[in-house]
Symmetry: C2
Subunit: 464 residues, 2 copies
Amino acid sequence: MNRILSLETVGKIGEEVLLKGWVNARRNMGKIAFLDLRDRAGLVQVVGVPNELDEASNEDLKKARLEYCLEIRGLVQERGEKQKNLDLPTGTAEILAKEIKILSESESMPIDVSADTKNIDEAVRLKYRYLDLRSDRMKKNLELRHAVNKFFRDYLCDQGFWEIETPTLTKGTPEGAREYIIPSRLYQGQFYVLPQAPQQFKQLLMVSGVEKYFQIARCFRDEDQRGDRQPEFTQLDMEMSFVEREDVMGLVENMMIKMAEKVSPEKKIQQVPFPRLTYKEAMDKYGTDKPDLREDKNDPNLLAFCWIIDFPFFEKTEEGGWTFTHNPFSAAMPEYKEQLLQKKDIEKIIAAQYDLALNGYEVGGGSVRNHESVALRSVLEIIGFDEEQISEQFGHILEAFKYGPPPHGGIAPGIDRLVMILANEPNIREVIPFPKNGDARDLMMGAPSPLPQKVLDEAHIKLK
Amino acid sequence: MNRILSLETVGKIGEEVLLKGWVNARRNMGKIAFLDLRDRAGLVQVVGVPNELDEASNEDLKKARLEYCLEIRGLVQERGEKQKNLDLPTGTAEILAKEIKILSESESMPIDVSADTKNIDEAVRLKYRYLDLRSDRMKKNLELRHAVNKFFRDYLCDQGFWEIETPTLTKGTPEGAREYIIPSRLYQGQFYVLPQAPQQFKQLLMVSGVEKYFQIARCFRDEDQRGDRQPEFTQLDMEMSFVEREDVMGLVENMMIKMAEKVSPEKKIQQVPFPRLTYKEAMDKYGTDKPDLREDKNDPNLLAFCWIIDFPFFEKTEEGGWTFTHNPFSAAMPEYKEQLLQKKDIEKIIAAQYDLALNGYEVGGGSVRNHESVALRSVLEIIGFDEEQISEQFGHILEAFKYGPPPHGGIAPGIDRLVMILANEPNIREVIPFPKNGDARDLMMGAPSPLPQKVLDEAHIKLK
């Protein structure tokens, strides 16, 4: 007999079925025992009556405790009218057990996963993440994240994009954040670096003539932790050739609308087309470049997307020089191109940058890029790079731009934040299957951790 | 006017179209110039006649050289019967240029990408990978890999699997290969490790009740390079609860058959159902556990899948102890379970392991796992782990198995090798967008490379 899921039982009144799952609750009523059996789809009530069961099954029914993993063969019955529980999808049915078998036992649980775990100490939840994920809310978050990723992939494939994998062991570039480093065993004193984003690879793929690239990409930043940051995070990395700002914004806007309709049909997008604010308008009116435009902040189903455009390209550093506000690879808006090349009125240059905000969070940023070496060089010189630094850190992309680079642009929506908002969660750890804690530790695996001397020796490093 | 792709021109005879792409070839016939314009879809011939073009266009036509990036507006014409080239998908049409604009120029190319690049020195190809990928064969390989990954995702989603992301910064475990290490900045003297595979995470997801997990996962092994190895590679990581060996093998076999039909319809699978050999049969008859069963080794479209089963669980080490042949997390076949627990006749214990071979390559390996702590402990004790090592390296999974773990099993087909075989390529570098060379170097980015002292200081390490 093939095992079915709990939710399928309601359609099988009068049939014998095979179920497998976990004891979510147990109630003894004299000689009769009621179990709620939980599987990935939900719960169903099982009734254990001693004289319906053989001796081994009766033994296992007696032994079964919370979170034991069970296999149950039984008859699906309609519940009496008074016993029906209309809050439960399977609440009109129950299973009269004919055979019960314990597949594995459970010690007393460190956390109660039959209810929402959100008020349990997060350190305990993270240590026992594999149990925390048994709870209904966390499992729904996993499923939602899966659905969001699947939607984006399907949407972009339909539009002719190819998903292309880029390296995780690569070379560092100064895009703003500190990077994780990996000593090389084969090359003493040399290191790989984990990518902050596949920025340069996706631009090189445009030089390759791929034209439409995406990747649901893991990114790494060794930043000081605060609230919502994680050492590794996921973005929907995209790049397109022969596009202008409006092309990228239009595609992403339509994709987000369709995504919300598909995976979160209960949500309502407050305004379509998404409102657009210049950086100056946003700062003047809201004091932030990721304003929360929701008209009703208490409505959990309201999505207020907006675009922020016309960012200044550069800002003054404390030392009196210049730094880029977003991305050194961005182009200036066409009317500022000459100004960039001549390095004139630097503070007034507007970048071809666009950020997507949602309910007060930045959920994506991108730009049209400089595909001309001379313009990229101008950016690097403005931010104070000398020829050696330019050649060392940007040599490969400047070299690539010698060979017929197409005009191109892209964006990188953040998956963690998007799913967090769709799931109405307060932080991204709730939608990351195995997150680090606020101090960059994995409390479940115990990482980071010391390593044997032999391993350090092989990597040609010593501790300081 | 919206830009169209070269392949679309044949359906638009008599229409004016806008094309963008690269000069793949150029021929001057007196005053008339012929260009082959290449885009991601293919090639189309463009005819440049001076009196059809304005002055600026004539200037750009004169300047245009190989691999210049162009925008061309023109009229699609049917070629004269004698001019038709039936080897080219667009060979019945040509574009009479009305406007030509250079989007970017190209210096003389270091490699010729208008022909197959396979005979060019690989070091040069890898240094200029972004150009190498412009060639028809390499672009087809990118597209094939995209299609294979997309197929697997769609197939498994239809079967109710969820794709779940697992961490890249994690803790090491001794699954056999040397690992890449990442010094922690926040915890002096401690390290993250890059995963050899998400093996433990996927088993922990089974403890979570996810039941059907997959992930197209990046894996890392710091092994000595030989031929076909890469520091990072990609596998279709899968795990399922409540399954036996036949369930996993059946699902994967059907998935592979459907995948080949969809993405490589020109291929023929030699035998369905896939033949099965025991490890002993394979070694006795072919001297390898990944035999090439093709009846015609010269047929490029023949796929000879086979399963290898009944592997010995353990083998003797040089020191006279025991080590596992495949995976310490495997279960013994049910008839050997007692023997494993009693550590009797260790050399005769058969693992619930299955490998999938294709045309002489291993393209996937998996097993039903030990979900009982006592059995996993027995494996670890047989291979000589003491209590401290067990607790340090397997503590979290042994802890997890205290809480109602379901029976589970999985497999992990290797994407690189599968795509390599489908693409009839001789090594996996041809199907990895940005591979390292045989010495684990990225010749394009220049990784690994030395880092500034400041970066090492922050990571609390020194060079030896």
